[in-house]
Symmetry: C2
Subunit: 251 residues, 2 copies
């Protein structure tokens, strides 16, 4: 395994490359809806097909049904398509959970379920997966009409430079970035006739650096973060519940 | 699909059969630790091996590694074995989640992720899986030293007679019953060289009646229950958190 410093330097270098790219206009949304003359539409379609080929190259996987990949990269805001990545993300999340469960089960034969859950959570969460999207430039291929997303992606790409492995909740990760990684996993799962082996073969390297029991220990905040985010959610829900039933509450 | 009345009658009949059996001494724990002369131990081992064969018949699956099945049926309280079903349950839970995700994804091509999650939760929860254990008499093969469990199982078997499909949280389901179903799923998954297809083939019928979008609609409480149980958990955690930090709180 690389040392912390080397990892840190490599991650910084990666990010500089990425920022150079995100400073270009976004590929999937570079044409505003107003520009859509018929010619523009035609050009956009050609671009989009090229985009899909590029994503196949990133994934090193050729889709039997290109429609699945198209769906995996389309946000609900890009509404004229009548489909979005939401259902594929749902299926991809389950596949990813099982894959980490399986890998870590054998990697750590003595860990009890509680520790295994924490380890899995460290790898299957919004920030971790959003980093994967940025690292492999998948964000450039997301079709959407969310006015603020590009700025959020730029901020996120900048902010994670300070945290080589995981910020443990200290930076805001755009959920859409994690979503397209999970949706791509769902798409490959379906396209490969439900082969968890094919999915793992494709995504194992893409998901690097995978957070291990050792790196999780190096970052003790991780554990607190997982617990903390549950508590924060509970607290928010509690406040909402109380707010709905009482006119004024002070704690 | 059977009518509600037929289902109800069939369930009642099933339960009567089950209760006749649970009123016998429990197979896995019928000998108390004090009885363990060498002869008794030997007899117990023979019984246990017969038990494992019987469970294989119930599952209609022959294990390559019988050790996995043994582990799936051993509670941590049965401590002299140095292993328990906990880790297999953890892996089985992930497998079951993916299997329902996959099935329902194709069964309901128009359902959004929120509705799919509710449908999956209705099938993968403690009460539903504890019912599966009782229906197929798997509870008779659980090795444990939990003094109260036999009584809890009897009460649960009795209580669910009033609710043919699901009580939606109105009866207390012994978690250990759901655990051995998930652990058995984990055991088959590993034993079959990680084939989700083999697991589904083995468990699809055992998991019947599978709660569909239609039967979930018939039981509108189900949805409330899923939300309610999350809220209850949040509330409990909140109360614990507050209790740890303040000497006296009143809501």
């Amino acid at each position: 395994m690389e040392s912390q410093q080397e990892e840190s330097a490599a991650a910084a270098l990666d990010m500089i490359k990425v920022l150079e790219i995100t400073s270009e206009s976004h590929k999937g949304t570079k044409e505003s809806p107003d520009d859509r003359s018929e010619v523009a539409s035609e050009k956009q379609t050609t671009d989009w097909l090229t985009d899909l080929d590029e994503v196949e190259e990133i994934l090193n996987y050729k889709f039997k049904s290109k429609k699945l990949l198209e769906e995996a990269l389309t946000h609900a805001s890009f509404s004229d398509q009548g489909f979005s990545y939401e259902r594929l993300e749902y299926i991809g999340d389950s596949v990813l959970n099982l894959l980490f469960t399986k890998e870590q089960y054998f990697l750590y034969p003595d860990l009890p379920p509680g520790a295994l859950t924490r380890l899995r959570s460290a790898n299957v969460n919004t920030e971790k997966l959003a980093r994967v999207a940025i690292k492999h430039k998948l964000h450039r291929y997301l079709r959407h009409k969310m006015p603020l997303l590009e700025e959020q992606i730029r901020e996120f790409s900048q902010a994670i430079l300070d945290y080589p492995l995981h910020s443990n909740g200290l930076v805001d990760a755009p959920k859409a970035l994690a979503d397209i990684v999970e949706a791509a996993i769902g798409a490959v799962f379906i396209d490969s006739n439900f082969s968890i082996d094919v999915v793992w073969k494709i995504f194992k390297d893409l998901l690097e650096p995978i957070i291990s029991q050792e790196t999780l220990k190096v970052h003790p905040v991780a554990e607190l973060y997982v617990e903390g985010s549950q508590k924060r959610q509970q607290w928010r829900s509690h406040v909402r519940t109380k707010a709905a039933h009482a006119p004024l509450i002070s704690f």
